[in-house]
Amino acid sequence: MAFAMKFNMIDVVVSDSLENVYVDGKRIGYQFDIRLNYYRGHFLSVIEEFEVTVDGEKVDQSSIRFRLNGKEFGICELESCYNEFWRITDPATIIVHESGGLPEGEHTVEVKLIFRSPYMAIGPNKYMPVDSSGSKTLKVKF
């Protein structure tokens, strides 16, 4: 990818946030929190690329859910979230559906998040890309 701005405000992957998710007593996956590494909040529709890699393995896009403001979206739906504002101080929760969740111990969570800064025009329908990717090794809570 060409040049992208990168800020150093906060850790994108929030410490201590990785945990397995249970439904009706079954472990159906895991979740963790992320924050936007920028100086202002954004509408979710500006997200251009969103990928999750756990322990070196890329997670299938269709098993990722993005939870914010008490609502939940598939990654393919983010593009049309023009009215869903991600506040700069709020974590979003990323849920990965994977039966059995994660085994006990530490796991490395990598998030690739590229968004366009929608007021920084660099041409017609072209905006400054910002890289808000991050990774962290976390112990999963059971």
């Binding site: 405000m9 906060i10 100086y39 202002r40 101080t89 007021y119 017609p124």
Partner: protein, 326 residues
């Protein structure tokens, strides 16, 4: 003669705010403590109910405002023309967003909306009746690399002159009067191993108005590393500098200025901004009929202490204004 009063953009404390080290209340308190009479809020940063202002949020701002004796001055908007992936927002859609900004500013008790240049001169004219209805003045931000005299800004000046409403104007950011390289950008380039003689060469080429593409080619030829080349975009963009700052442009635009943005990236202990000639800029404004706010905006590019840098900027303005009064 007019009067320059100090206000503070809470954006100055953006880094500690986002890191959870300062609350909204702490930001307003810090601004009041350094003698600022008013505050600006970057809406998409610190208004928790953005893009709207709920009763609860308006109440919160009003409480701190009362408690610390600091008035709402300016609502800083963002014109997110690129909200959609498939196309730019239309002028009508941008107008709709700008109307919302006016209403939000009004709820907070601000008198000015700082709007961004993606809102065209024509659409600004369509915004005028809303601005007048709500008693909110809307100013287009003039931010480096634009200056009061660049073609994009001249188009607004002509449109506003023709319309003659005092509700449309400008917010000039002092960054556009920079005469020296931006210290944090230069420090970063050095830290990344930039060759000093080639950074000097870049500085000289910027002063000589060598076009960006040609400067890039010359540097590559001279063997510039990535740290030097990385400084080129800023040098010709948001932190560009010129030998002569646009003093005539400033003088002629003052009657249309709603307020100024007292930008700083680094103020030294002995109270000088590293790139912006405050000692020359402030007297020009003090000598005019301008009666309003210089809104301090510390932009954290260098990782300095936000509270201290904002304090120094306020002290620098006080010091310069005190000299002028004598």
């Amino acid at each position: 003669m007019g009067e320059i009063k100090k206000a503070c953009s809470l954006f100055s404390y953006g880094t500690p705010y986002i890191r959870g080290e300062m609350s909204l209340e702490a930001c307003m308190r810090a601004a009041a403590l350094i003698g600022c009479e008013g505050f600006e809020v970057v809406a998409a940063q610190m208004i928790s109910s953005y893009p709207y202002v709920t009763d609860e949020v308006a109440g919160e701002f009003a409480r701190y405002s009362e408690k610390y004796g600091i008035k709402p001055v300016c609502y800083a908007a963002n014109m997110d023309r690129g909200l959609r992936r498939d196309r730019d927002l239309t002028e009508d859609e941008m107008l709709a967003r700008a109307v919302n900004d006016i209403k939000s500013a009004h709820r907070l008790g601000c008198k000015v909306v700082r709007q961004q240049y993606l809102l065209s001169p024509k659409t600004m004219l369509h915004l005028r009746p809303y601005a007048e209805e709500y008693g909110i003045k809307v100013g287009i931000e003039i931010h480096n690399p634009e200056t009061p005299s660049t073609p994009a800004i001249m188009a607004y000046r002509e449109a506003f002159d023709k319309c003659g409403s005092e509700y449309l104007g400008f917010v000039v950011d002092f960054g556009c009067f920079s005469t020296k390289p931006n210290k944090p950008y230069w420090d970063r380039a050095f830290a990344n191993g930039a060759q000093p003689e080639l950074l000097e060469m870049l500085e000289q080429m910027r002063y000589d108005d060598v076009p960006q593409q040609e400067a890039m080619e010359r540097l590559i030829k001279a063997g510039a590393n990535d740290a030097v080349l990385g400084a080129v975009a800023g040098t010709y963009g948001f932190v560009q500098f010129r030998r002569e700052w646009d003093v005539e442009g400033l003088k002629s635009i003052i009657p249309q200025c709603l307020e100024f943005h007292a930008k700083c990236h680094y103020v030294s202990e002995d109270l000088h901004e590293a790139s912006i000639p405050y000692e020359e800029v402030l007297p020009v404004i003090a000598d005019s009929d301008f009666n309003g706010y210089a809104v301090i905006e510390y932009e954290d590019e260098g990782g300095y202490d936000s509270v201290e840098m904002t304090r120094r900027c306020a002290a620098m303005i006080d010091k310069i204004l005190a000299t002028i009064k004598k």
